[in-house]
Amino acid sequence: MLIAAILVFPSLAPNPYILSSGVIVLNWAVLATAWNFVGGFTGYISLGHGALAGLGGYATGLLITKADIPSFVALILAAVIVAALAVPIGFAALRVRGASFVIVSIALVLILLLVFQSWSSVTGGSRGLVVPRPFPGMLRPEHHRAFFFLYGGLLILALATWWLLDRSRFGMGLKAIREDEDKAESLGTPTFAYKLTVFVVSAAFTALAGGLYALWFGDLDPVFQFSVLTGSYIVLMALLGGVRNLFGPVLGAIVVGIALEYFKVEFGSTPLHLVTTGLLLGLVVLFMPDGVIPSVTGLVQRLRKREQSSIREFTAADLAEQRKRDREGASS
């Protein structure tokens, strides 16, 4: 269904502006899904993924402008470089848990902002970096359409990877880390290696999205590439949709992406769009801490079935049914 939607959207879009908004929403969807590799599985909340995307964008741009590498080769290479960089970054950041990790992830954004601003001989500093177009002769609407499909492909790749991990033992190990890291380790899960691996995977997807954005957008400016706000929007999207669900972040990206656009139109000339975004975030946290998808399915289930018994008065039939469900889960 998602694939179909991605395929038909460009032909339905009434004008290039809507199409370009579609590209932006897909960009968010990829970012949120990529974030969910870390946030959803291990429960480490990173507000720094905006920086990884920025890094991917800059790496792509610099490879093209400084090393004359063809655009899409540069994109892949940039993702590899960012993945490699994610190893030391993750090594430092993943040593701490909970609150400290959040701080470290914020620090990552701020430190990269400083570096990319100050190191102007390489990055162009605050003057920004102009990334040449990958399809030089293409008209703008065509250009949007091409990138829409590129982003669509990337999103599907990311989703497939997430799905694969979710049902695997590796994924189970990551979820165990989310629940109780020491316990997981004492059961033989190499927690640090697991966390690092999934962080690197997440960083690679994030960098791909960032690199694609650089190719599409063409102008990079450290202030916008390395912004805590970007990372926070990603988290908002993932949480809103539901971090334990494959399509949660995508749904969140669509909702929040459109909401941001709407708030901007509605409250455009005042900073009240910040207020509305804040309120939205607050409401989600207070009333749907597990996200839209789980909240809704939970409600449906509660309406359909009577309350679950926690006491030892399980009938044999209940037990058999439970067991069957688990087994079906096994074969699916």
């Binding site: 309350e307 018994s309 926690s310 006491i311 008065e313």
Partner: protein, 246 residues
């Protein structure tokens, strides 16, 4: 008259089905009632209801003849009901001293406080020895002793104990049971939950077997101990080989 009485209590967590389904118990002043039962029967839930941590869905909680259904723990404590939680509930990042003195949070009399503190230090040597170290750094059993010591800082009319001997070495276990007996002799009503059931029933006056949220059997502790079938089902197969140290 009963110091504390639970009447036909229904209680549970969140939206789930009730854990206690019409549970009643009453503990007279100067006696020890021992609650035993399989894991998950609802024993801890009974104590949470009795101490005000959990509001019952229906039924009544009476303390000293007053209806205190739905009162919070602060009010319950003011009425003389104290609970020692199951598992570990020391304030981990505070010193043993701070933990113990916090036990007397409601006391205003400084002198009385330090007198009690001295008393518990003598009772549990480790409390005195580790007075200034962080409570979270103590061993499991040592923490348990600190917790018990903390509860001894006040002089309640009703004491609710949730497996106080868990994780304690034989010496400390004896100290605890001696203390329970002493409280009873001083006129306190004690509601005791224990998995060390045989030992506990020897100290208790009344026994009460809880299963599936209801009272299964209750009666004088000695009768329960003697019942072979009950022993098989709830107290473990082997009767105690020799009577414990008094």
């Amino acid at each position: 008259m009963s110091e504390i009485e639970l009447v036909d209590v229904q209680a549970g967590y969140g939206r789930a089905a009730p854990v206690l389904r019409g549970f009643s118990v009453s503990v007279p002043a100067g006696s020890v009632v021992c609650l035993v039962g399989p894991n998950g029967a609802g024993k801890s839930t009974v104590l949470k209801v009795a101490s005000g941590l959990l509001s019952p869905r229906s039924g009544r909680v009476m303390v000293g003849g007053k209806d205190l259904t739905g009162a919070g723990p602060q009010k319950m404590l003011a009425e003389g009901v104290a609970l020692v939680l199951q598992g570990h509930s020391v304030f981990r990042e505070m010193t043993v001293e701070e933990n113990v003195l916090l036990g007397g949070y409601t006391l205003n009399d400084k002198a009385a406080k330090s007198r009690r503190a001295k008393f518990v230090q003598e009772l549990f040597p480790v409390v005195g020895e580790r007075w200034r170290s962080l409570a979270g750094l103590l061993s499991g059993g040592q923490q348990k002793q600190v917790e018990f010591a903390r509860s001894l800082m006040v002089d309640p009319k009703v004491v609710l104990l949730d497996e106080p001997s868990m994780g304690l070495d034989p010496k400390a276990t004896s100290t605890i049971f001696e203390q329970v007996a002493r409280m009873r002799d001083a006129g306190t009503a004690v509601l005791l939950v224990e998995q060390n059931a045989r030992r506990a029933l020897q100290t208790a006056d009344l026994g009460c077997v809880l299963d599936l949220g209801r009272v299964h059997i209750s009666g004088p502790a000695a009768d329960l101990l003697a019942d072979p079938q009950l022993g098989e089902l709830y107290l473990g197969g082997r009767p105690a080989e020799k009577p414990p140290v008094p």
